[in-house]
Symmetry: C2
Subunit: 232 residues, 2 copies
């Protein structure tokens, strides 16, 4: 009745004595496709074509599409670059973690649609989480609070970056349709004057810079809040 909980990572790796294609090759090609055309641009047929293979050939290397996505997801987690927690302050480590994670997501916008859909149990994701955990432990957190701190930080980054991606994509689509945007803001202004004026403000300013500032502001607040929790 209930579907078995499954993940690529919970099965042993394939012997990998392959003569044909390799899993890595497929994963890399998938990342390219995703970066170029987004999540909807990745279909097994398209991926097969890119590799000069039939669509169903890929199923030799991967149980199903979700597993492929798990692999692909962890692949990009491998781009995280973190300092050794023993060599800096926890605050520096946490800050680098947060920024690195945000850049990663912005570089691969399709990840936002995978978060909350797939478990992040791959070695790269776990490795990054473990580093952050060690850092918080060194900072003085104990027991479950280590996890809570971990969760708090990553939650903030996820939560701020996901809508950020949505915005930038919507903006890219509407780049040559500023009129429709203006009209939209005008409509909103009727009910929410504050919000509308703020949008005008933001629209005229360098939006990238504004987003960067919002991120820094929030990150500072989160880190301060964690620091406060550390004193007691």
């Amino acid at each position: 009745m209930t579907k078995q909980f499954s993940s690529v990572w919970l099965r042993e790796a394939r012997p990998a004595k392959s003569t044909g294609r390799s899993r890595d090759e497929i994963v890399r090609a998938a990342v390219e496709l995703l970066d170029a055309d987004g999540l909807d641009g990745l279909s097994m047929r398209r991926l097969g074509a890119k590799l000069s293979a039939g669509a169903t050939s890929l199923y030799w290397y991967v149980a199903n599409k979700d597993e492929l996505l798990e692999l692909v997801y962890d692949e990009v987690w491998g781009e995280m670059r973190l300092p050794d927690p023993t060599e800096t302050t926890w605050r520096a480590t946490a800050s680098v973690f947060a920024h690195s994670m945000r850049r990663l997501i912005l570089r691969h916008p399709w990840t936002t649609r995978l978060i909350g859909r797939l478990p992040a149990l791959g070695p790269n994701a776990l490795g990054a989480a473990d580093t952050l955990r060690r850092s918080f432990h060194l900072a003085g957190f104990e027991g479950l609070e280590i996890d809570y701190a971990n969760t708090t930080l990553t939650s903030f980054v996820f939560g701020i970056t996901i809508p950020e991606v949505a915005w930038t994509q919507a903006m890219a689509e509407t780049a040559y349709h500023e009129d429709s945007m203006r009209e939209a803001v005008a409509l909103l202004a009727a009910d929410y004057p504050d919000l509308a004026s703020r949008m005008n403000e933001v629209h005229s300013a360098d939006t990238d810079a504004v987003r960067e500032m919002a991120f820094s502001f929030g990150l500072g607040a989160v880190l301060d809040g964690l620091a406060a929790r550390l004193i007691t």
Copy 2:
């Protein structure tokens, strides 16, 4: 070339002198379907069947499925219940906002897959955002910092709740397969002993309570961090 940025909310409402079905009726039915069977359970054909209508009949009331999802998304935002910001402290308002938002998402898990995919420009979503904004303004934030504070709080809630939903769903699926979970943890333990032991701990404890505590911890930290930003 570029697809026009569009949203239901940016077009005037339909005259609504309808004699047949109504938009609300459709939206409500869609919410029921989504709550029962998740995002993948909602197809135009199934929704049509539920309303004893042909699948394509619905396209009279809704331009396409994405617009329907926008409507449905805002519909549930209407479940937010917020205090009058002028009658409590900003901290109380923010706290209620956060908890209310989390409950909303947990009640309608499919929302997690809509965040970051659709703009939240509906009246209910904007109304809630506006209330929070007023609260932060009363607290003493000015200009862009009002938005930054807004973003920080909502980001945390989104970010912590999205994976939370993913977890509870994975857990529900695997409820009768504890073995596979145990095996999974064992595999992880090889590389990440800390993490594995923590998972055992969490698994044995009341997981709902643990999640609740993680949320409270993080929310407290975020609010403290915002408070710190308020003093200067």
